[in-house]
Amino acid sequence: MNASVPRGPVLSVTDLTVSVGTETGPRPLVSGLSFDLFAGETLCIAGESGSGKSITSLAAMALLPPGVRVTGGSIRLDGRDLAKLSERRMQAIRGARIAMIFQEPMTSLNPVLTIGTQLSEAIRSHDPGANAQALALAALKSVRLSQPEARMRQYPHELSGGMRQRVMIAMALALKPEVLIADEPTTALDVTVQREVLDLLRDLQRDTGTAIILITHDMGVVAEMADRVVVMKSGCMVETGPVRDIFARPAEAYTQALLAAVPRMGDGSGPVPAPAETIARIEDISVRYDIRGGLLGRVTHRVHAVEEVSFEIRMGETFSLVGESGCGKSTIARAMTGLVPHQGLINLAGHVVPEDGLSAGPALRRDVQMVFQDPAAALNPRKRVGDLVAEPLVIHRIGDAASRRERVRALFDRVGLSPDQIDRYPHEFSGGQRQRICIARALALEPRLIIADESVSALDVSVQARVLDLLAELKADLGISYLFISHDMAVVENISDRIAVMYLGQIVETGSRAQIFGNPQHPYTRRLIEAVPIPDPTHQRPALSRMSDDVRSPVWPVGAGPAKVALSDIGGGHRVASA
């Protein structure tokens, strides 16, 4: 918070316009953007997808994609306009004076070179005389990687996502740049890892005084990290100011709407649904994948993705499975829809899902539907959306062409889309609209249970809020039950009736929303809740207990397996793993 240092800005963006060349002439992606960045401060550029925030950062790095150019204004670093520098002059600046980290650390690291080689190469390219090995090791130590000497010899795939992002940060900060641009640095990471990376960035900034531009869509991250905020919408700056002012008194309607849409995590209080009959019963299901090895291709190890998990979903409730990536929550959804074989009993709406999954009957298919994470991937791009929504009816031979079309129009109306759009193709819709199409498709067969696998995770917060509203509305009107799978504790707190927390293929805590959020018992549940960024800059967060870097593996030799976690009831159906 030393933005008041009496010096000029490190980086000064004035009236920046970035345009893409199209057949009808240049179209601006960013227009008239101005801001100053001072040493030691963190400026957050916040906005939803398509707001031009990433293009701004790429312009500052002179890494704009082909066809996109800076067409006006300037980006000055110490008085030099980066937009007008030649590529060769820029190469000397990039990395040494202005560095960048990206969203996905796996794709930013070269998979065939060791961490040490990549780090020292980056250092040597700017300072050929330096003792690159020593500097690289110091950089790894500064980002608090355990066993830095060993990490130097490892390859990117041997590290976890959070460790890789720390390597990226080490690489970016090794040359002590004045400016660090972090483009959604924690979006691809689990929420507890996100906390650790954000804490690290803040500590490093305090030590080095690097100015950080943090680009994010997550207002929680903004509240936690920013000194000042720039809110962007479709290429223009909507509002700028100190973070406390933006959150306390947002002046513009867009900022207000953006902040209102952020799911806020409460303590889980709220009406508790009356106990109803069971719609889905899952008893001791396990999903294991074989790993073959050796000369003869025998099964040597198994991935224990899901290990003897049991739970029930009641009529008309939203049951959430929550946990971090790799905990097996999506595997359960895939087993329930027959996409992967399983062992154990899955009884959905009175139909037993066969263990091989494939031979599930049509009655089961009608009663249970799934909504996927990425609506763009779940809709065949070569089909008209009307045909896609009608397809379940065709498959189950319901009605004739005319009545199906009528039904599709009604479904479009139901999910808040115009029935006139049914002859378009999926790519002509926005992400939120596409997810509505997926929901309409799931509704076509009037299912009793909808499995929503991270169904709102890929959407912007404002869109996410509206899709969640739609899901809640459908539940109230049609009495549908949901199995809601998510990594986002705030979303889960907002829509769930009951929750199960999963860790390494097993449930470690389950109970009603009030029990889980009001009285979390298992240390992992507490960690998950504490790690959620709170969209309130005045919030003082308790220090996060650091866990070891070692990722516990679900891979076991044949014959061995994880110990089954025993859950004990601590009252009112709140069941917790005894440590």
């Binding site: 996409l339 539907q369 065949n380 008209r384 397809e391 379940p392 498959i395 193709y425 790519h427 997926c438």
Partner: protein, 297 residues
């Protein structure tokens, strides 16, 4: 025979107006016109030809016994036996089109079927099919052709069969790879959760994504099959003389390449034009059938 209709019927499942959009592309139109010209010439060969194609004309050779250059009664000159090149080219179009479209169509069809089945079913069926494909790929094509020709009496149909047997492997491999990748996509999983049958998923959701690949291989295959036929003819196991094909015109006359280059260049150009025409149409078809490319009508 299921191969050829595959390629040609490609625009049928797409909606009304696909043909109109195809015709609006100048390059596609050029390709279609060229194909129509070649097909028309092949059909109308008896009326267009100035001489019977197999007739050795006494005045068709110079006194030294060399072929006549183009000009006079010989529109495109004569070949080494004094036959009229123009007439042979017209009749040769029949053989070459038959080989290029039918043999190639069968090859692409078989390849698609094998690749799709192996990629969709995986497991031991997939392994057996793909190892068999690898075996066929490693097996010398000409040796196979010679064996087959030794068993059956050489004829146009045997040649077509041999070419189809040799050429399906590349398509099978590529279709297999693409099918395995597509089968992992979410929209295929979504279909399965709806209860769609495998056949329905394959036909309505997988195949449309494979059309671009299939079309590219089908158009590329036309020139290779025409030339493969020529090789077989050269070895004496292809189309039997005196029947003309574009490939065997080149091979018969290649000894005169120095003194009478037109004998090689003219049929060569014919093959080139045919392959180019199919490529142009194939390219355009691919774009027309992809709804995400439809912004620029």
């Amino acid at each position: 025979m299921s191969g050829a209709p595959f390629v040609i019927a490609a625009s049928a499942p797409a909606e009304r107006g696909a043909l109109t959009r195809l015709l609006r592309r100048p390059l596609a139109l050029l390709g279609l016109v060229l194909i129509a010209l070649v097909v028309g010439a092949a059909i109308a060969a008896p009326w267009l030809a100035t001489y019977p194609p197999d007739q050795q004309n006494f005045d068709g050779l110079t006194l030294e016994g060399a072929p006549m250059p183009p000009g006079g009664p010989w529109l495109l000159g004569t070949d080494l036996l004094g036959r009229d090149l123009y007439s042979r080219l017209l009749y040769g179009a029949r053989t070459s089109l038959l080989i290029g479209i039918i043999a190639n169509g069968i090859a692409v069809g078989v390849g698609t079927l094998v690749g799709l089945t192996a990629g969709w079913l995986r497991g031991w069926v997939g392994t057996v099919l793909m190892r068999f494909t690898d075996l066929m790929m490693a097996f010398p094509a000409l040796l196979l052709a010679i064996c087959l020709a030794a068993i059956f009496r050489p004829s146009l149909w045997i040649v077509a069969l041999v070419i189809a047997l040799v050429n399906w492997v590349q398509t099978a491999r590529i279709v297999y790879t693409e099918t395995t990748a597509l089968a992992e996509r979410d929209f295929i999983a979504a279909e399965r959760t709806l209860g769609a049958s495998s056949l329905r998923i394959l036909w309505h959701h997988l195949l449309p994504h494979l059309w671009p690949t299939i079309i590219v291989w089908a158009t590329l295959g036309i020139s290779t099959t025409v030339l493969l036929e020529a090789t077989l003819s050269y070895l004496g196991i292809g189309v039997q003389p005196p029947t003309a094909s574009w490939g065997n015109i080149i091979f018969e006359n290649q000894t005169y390449f120095q003194s009478a280059p037109w004998l090689v260049f003219i049929p060569g150009a014919a093959i080139l034009v045919l392959a180019l025409a199919f490529n142009l149409v194939g390219d355009a078809l691919r774009e027309v059938m992809d709804p995400t490319q439809r912004g620029q009508r």
